[in-house]
């Protein structure tokens, strides 16, 4: 997080020094600042692993948008056709994520994907209760959620 902050500060410095206040120039500054931080990250402990994180975030965004569109079409198909294919139910999902930020991020992403809605976290934070719309194949759903969680933890940890 602190690395991202420094990246933005350096990009702003680039914009101010080059005197061209446009979005493209800001992106260029962001890129150069990213390269500079990539060189610096070996020496500065707080920046450790920063350059690896941005490609992961981009990979996650691509993966997430793909899932979002796929799941949206699935729900849309069930809403638009007269017969119900859905088998809704509430499942308990064992959490690997432990901190507040991790659980918040994971449950938001799960809620954002159509077909799954996070209802509540148990008091000891072991389990996330999820309302799922398509429980035909519960094992498959659990594997998909596990994969999603793994990718999120890779970004946040």
């Amino acid at each position: 997080m602190i690395g991202f902050f420094w990246n933005i500060m350096l990009a702003l410095a680039w914009v101010a020094l080059s005197g061209n206040f446009s979005a493209m120039n800001f992106l260029a500054g962001f890129f150069f600042a990213y390269l500079a931080l990539m060189v610096l990250q070996r020496q500065v402990p707080v920046l450790k692993g920063y350059s690896r994180r941005i490609p992961r975030v981009v990979a996650f965004l691509v993966f997430f948008v793909k899932e979002l569109v796929k799941a949206n079409f699935r729900v849309a198909y069930d809403v638009a056709t007269p017969v119900w294919y859905m088998k809704p139910g509430v499942i308990a999902f064992r959490l690997e994520a432990h901190t507040d930020v991790e659980i918040m991020f994971l449950s938001s992403v799960i809620s954002l994907t159509p077909g799954t809605l996070s209802l509540d976290v148990s008091d000891d934070r072991q389990v996330l209760f999820i309302h799922a719309m398509f429980l035909q194949d519960e094992e498959q759903l659990r594997q998909d959620l596990r994969e999603l969680e793994r990718r999120i933890l890779k970004i946040l940890r």
Partner: protein, 137 residues
Amino acid sequence: MTDIIVSILLIAGAAFMLLAAIGILRLPDLPTRMHASTKAGAMGAMFIMGGVAFFFLDSIVFARAFAIVVFILITSPIAAHVIGRAGYFTGTTLWDGTVKDELRENYDAETHKLSSGYEGSPESVTPPPESESPEDR
């Protein structure tokens, strides 16, 4: 060419919003309605904002459309979660076709305690407290 892309994006957005509205009318119970309304609605708003950005092709409009999409992505899952949770715990009946409910047995309506069902298991040692969050996350 731009016109065609803009039209496709706008129509797709409007279609998703229409589906969200139909979903609210047709789906049988509260959680499934939340599935349709919030997510398809957010998706529709995203498509429409994409269409707006392509129509103007201006960096300021682009930044605004991007900001709107980000705010929708931040707020809509939280709204869906809170409405769904409130509805569930105030005792909304689920649809007859609901195949399983693993929450009901873990929830104590007297004390409002929600157990996980893993309290006794050896791996359920509580994780280290997250008060001191690591600086680089």
